[in-house]
C-alpha cells in the first residue's frame, strides 16, 4: 500500500505548489490591482483613498502575509470578490461549473462509446482493410483541433440545413433535461472527437497485446466462443490503460472546454476564465485556475488509485 500512501502524501504538497504558482502569477501582472479594478478612474483617487483601498484588499501587506491570508481563506471557501460580477468568486465559479462538468462528462461518454468498440473492432481485424480504415480515421480525428470540428459542424448545419445551434439562453439539465441535451450534444461531440480517436488507438493496441497473452489462448483452447474470448476475457484487461487515459484526458477536457464553450457561446467555466482574463478580473482568474487545477489533480489521484487497485504490480513495485 506504500504507493497509495505516497500518492496521498504528495497531494497536499502539490496543491500548495499549485496555489503558490497561481498566487505569484497573478501578482506578476504589471500594474497594481486597484488600477486594474477601477481602470482610468483610479487616476481620480487621492493617495489616502488609494491607501485605504490597499488596506481593505490586504495588498498593503508583504507577499508572504498576503499569501497566507489567501491560502487560509481557501479552506473557508473565501476566494475573494469578483470585480466584474460583484459577487464572491466561489459562487461565480460554482454557478458556471455544472455546465463545464456536464460537457466534459458527455464528451467522455461519447468518446468511450465510440472509441472502445472501434478499438476492439480494429484489433480483431488486425492489419486487414477494416483495421486500416479505423486507424486512418483515428489518426485524422486526433489531428483535428476541436475548433475545426466545431466550426465545420456549425457550417454544415447552417449552410446545409439552414439551422444554427441554439445559442444564448441556456437551459440547465435539472430544468429541462431534453432541451439541455439538445443544446449540449453538439459541443460534446466537438469536444469528444479527438478524445474518441485516442481511446480507439489505445483500446486497439491494448487489445492486441492482451489477445496474444497465454490466458487468452487457454480460453480459446478450452473452447470459449470468440465473442466470449473478446468481450469477457480480453476486454476487461485491455481497459486498464483506457481508464488511465480517460482520467488524464478528463483534465484536458475541462481545459479544452474553453475553446468549445467559446465557439458555441455556452456560459461555462472555461468561457468565464477567458472573459475574466480579457477583463482583468484577477481574483476570478486566480480562483478559477486553482479550482480547475484542483479538479484535475483529484481526478488524476483517483485514476492512480484505481490503477493501483486494478493492477497489483503498480501497488507492490517500489519507486
Amino acid at each position: 500500500m506504500s504507493y497509495v500512501i505516497r500518492r496521498l502524501r504528495a497531494f497536499p504538497l502539490v496543491l500548495i505548489g499549485v496555489s503558490i504558482i497561481v498566487f505569484i502569477a497573478i501578482r506578476l501582472v504589471p500594474g497594481d490591482s486597484i488600477t486594474a479594478m477601477l481602470g482610468t478612474e483610479a487616476g481620480l483617487l487621492t493617495p489616502q483613498q488609494r491607501d485605504s483601498l490597499a488596506v481593505y484588499f490586504g495588498i498593503d501587506q508583504p507577499w508572504p502575509v498576503q499569501y497566507w491570508r489567501w491560502f487560509t481563506g481557501l479552506f473557508s471557501g473565501d476566494l475573494g470578490i469578483s470585480v466584474t460580477y460583484g459577487k464572491p468568486v466561489l459562487s461565480v465559479i460554482l454557478e458556471r461549473f455544472p455546465l463545464t462538468l456536464e460537457l466534459a462528462l458527455l464528451a467522455m461518454l461519447i468518446a468511450l462509446s465510440i472509441g472502445v468498440p472501434a478499438g476492439v473492432f480494429a484489433a480483431t481485424r488486425n492489419e486487414r482493410p477494416a483495421d486500416l480504415g479505423v486507424r486512418i480515421a483515428a489518426m485524422i480525428g486526433q489531428s483535428t483541433p476541436s475548433f475545426v470540428v466545431g466550426l465545420v459542424i456549425i457550417y454544415i448545419l447552417s449552410a446545409g440545413f439552414g439551422v444554427l445551434p441554439t445559442m444564448g439562453a441556456f437551459t440547465p439539465f435539472w430544468q429541462d433535461p431534453l432541451q439541455n441535451l439538445g443544446q449540449m450534444i453538439l459541443p460534446a461531440i466537438t469536444l469528444g472527437c479527438a478524445f474518441a480517436s485516442s481511446v480507439t488507438r489505445v483500446t486497439r493496441s491494448a487489445m492486441l497485446d492482451v489477445l496474444s497473452d497465454d490466458y487468452v489462448r487457454t480460453a480459446r483452447s478450452k473452447g470459449a466462443s470468440e465473442r466470449s474470448v473478446i468481450w469477457r476475457h480480453a476486454l476487461p484487461n485491455a481497459l486498464v490503460p483506457v481508464v488511465t487515459l480517460s482520467g488524464i484526458e478528463f483534465g484536458y477536457l475541462l481545459g479544452g472546454a474553453v475553446i468549445v464553450e467559446q465557439i458555441y457561446a455556452l456560459p461555462g467555466l472555461g468561457r468565464m476564465v477567458l472573459e475574466a482574463i480579457l477583463q482583468r478580473d484577477y481574483a476570478l482568474v486566480q480562483g478559477a485556475v486553482l479550482f480547475i487545477a484542483l479538479n484535475f489533480m483529484i481526478v488524476n489521484l483517483l485514476v492512480d488509485l484505481a490503477y493501483a487497485a486494478l493492477d497489483p504490480r503498480i501497488r507492490l513495485e517500489g519507486r
Partner: protein
C-alpha cells in the same frame, strides 16, 4: 541515413515525412516573403472573392489574398512550434539529466516542481502565462515551452536513471572520464532516440496549442496572420465565404497529422518495444 531509410519504408513515416517536408518548404517561403501577393495588402475591389486564377484560395473580408496569408501563417505557426519545443527540449533535458545524475534533494525538489506544473491542464497554464505577459508571439512560445518542459524532464529522467546504473557508465567512471563527458557522451547520446520521438509528437501538440491560443485571440496578434487567427476570422463569414474556413482548417489539420504520423513511425522504428497504436 539508416533512420531516413527506415522512415521511408514505414507507411505512415513516408506520408508524414512528405507532409512535414512540404510544410517546411511552405513555411520557409512564407517566412522569407515569397508569397503570391503581399499578405497584408488589401485589394479592396476583390473583397471576399471566391478562389480564382489570381487568388488561388480566394480573398478575405479586407481583400487580402488568403493563400499568401496562409503561407505566412504557416511560417508563423511553425516558428512558434519550433522555438517552443526547442526551449522545452533544452530545459527538460538539462533538468532531467541533472535530476537523474545528482539525485537526492535536487531530484526531489525538481520533480515535485514538475508535478506542480503538470497539475495544470495545458491550455489553462498557457492562458495563465498569457494573462501575465500579455498576448503575442513570444508569449505563446514561452507559454507552450513551459507547458512541455515537465514532459521532457520526465522523458529524460526515467531512462537517464536506468542508464546511470548500467555497467558501461561505471566503467567510464573507473577510467576517469569527466562528469560532463559521461553526461553528454554516455547518457545524452543514448537518449536521442526517445527524445526524437517526443520532439516530433510535441511539435504536433505545439501547433495545436498555438492554433488554439491564436483562435482565442491570445496568440499571434492581427494584422499578422496565423492559422488559428484566420479560422477565428472566418467564424462569422463562413456561410458567405466558405473558403475562409476550408483552407486554414485543412492546413492546420494536415500539419498536425504530418507530425503525428512521423512521430508514430519514429516510435516504431526507434523503440521496438512499443507496438504500433
Amino acid at each position: 541515413m539508416r533512420v531516413v531509410k527506415a522512415i521511408l519504408s514505414h507507411p505512415s513515416g513516408r506520408i508524414g515525412g512528405v507532409i512535414v517536408l512540404v510544410y517546411l518548404l511552405v513555411a520557409l517561403l512564407g517566412a522569407v516573403g515569397l508569397t503570391p501577393h503581399d499578405p497584408l495588402m488589401q485589394y479592396r475591389i476583390d473583397r471576399l472573392h471566391a478562389p480564382t486564377s489570381s487568388y488561388w484560395m480566394g480573398t478575405d473580408l479586407f481583400g487580402r489574398d488568403v493563400m499568401s496569408r496562409l503561407m505566412k501563417g504557416i511560417g508563423q505557426s511553425f516558428t512558434v512550434a519550433f522555438f517552443s519545443v526547442a526551449l522545452a527540449t533544452l530545459a527538460g533535458t538539462v533538468l532531467g539529466l541533472t535530476a537523474a545524475w545528482f539525485g537526492g534533494r535536487w531530484d526531489t525538489v525538481m520533480m515535485r516542481f514538475m508535478d506542480v506544473l503538470l497539475a495544470f491542464p495545458a491550455i489553462l497554464l498557457a492562458l495563465l502565462i498569457v494573462t501575465i505577459v500579455g498576448p503575442g508571439t513570444w508569449t505563446s512560445v514561452a507559454a507552450i515551452s513551459i507547458v512541455y518542459t515537465p514532459i521532457f524532464t520526465r522523458v529524460v529522467r526515467g531512462p537517464a536513471l536506468s542508464l546511470k546504473a548500467r555497467d558501461f557508465v561505471d566503467a567510464a567512471r573507473t577510467f576517469g572520464s569527466s562528469r560532463s563527458y559521461i553526461l553528454t557522451r554516455h547518457l545524452l547520446l543514448n537518449l536521442v532516440a526517445p527524445l526524437t520521438v517526443q520532439v516530433t509528437l510535441a511539435l504536433a501538440w505545439a501547433l495545436l496549442t498555438e492554433a488554439g491560443l491564436s483562435f482565442l485571440g491570445l496568440g499571434t496578434q492581427p494584422p499578422a496572420s496565423s492559422l488559428g487567427l484566420m479560422l477565428s476570422d472566418a467564424r462569422n463569414l463562413m456561410e458567405q465565404a466558405p473558403w475562409l474556413l476550408a483552407f486554414p482548417a485543412v492546413a492546420i489539420m494536415l500539419s498536425i497529422l504530418g507530425f503525428n504520423l512521423l512521430g508514430d513511425a519514429l516510435r516504431d522504428i526507434l523503440d521496438p518495444k512499443t507496438r504500433r497504436a
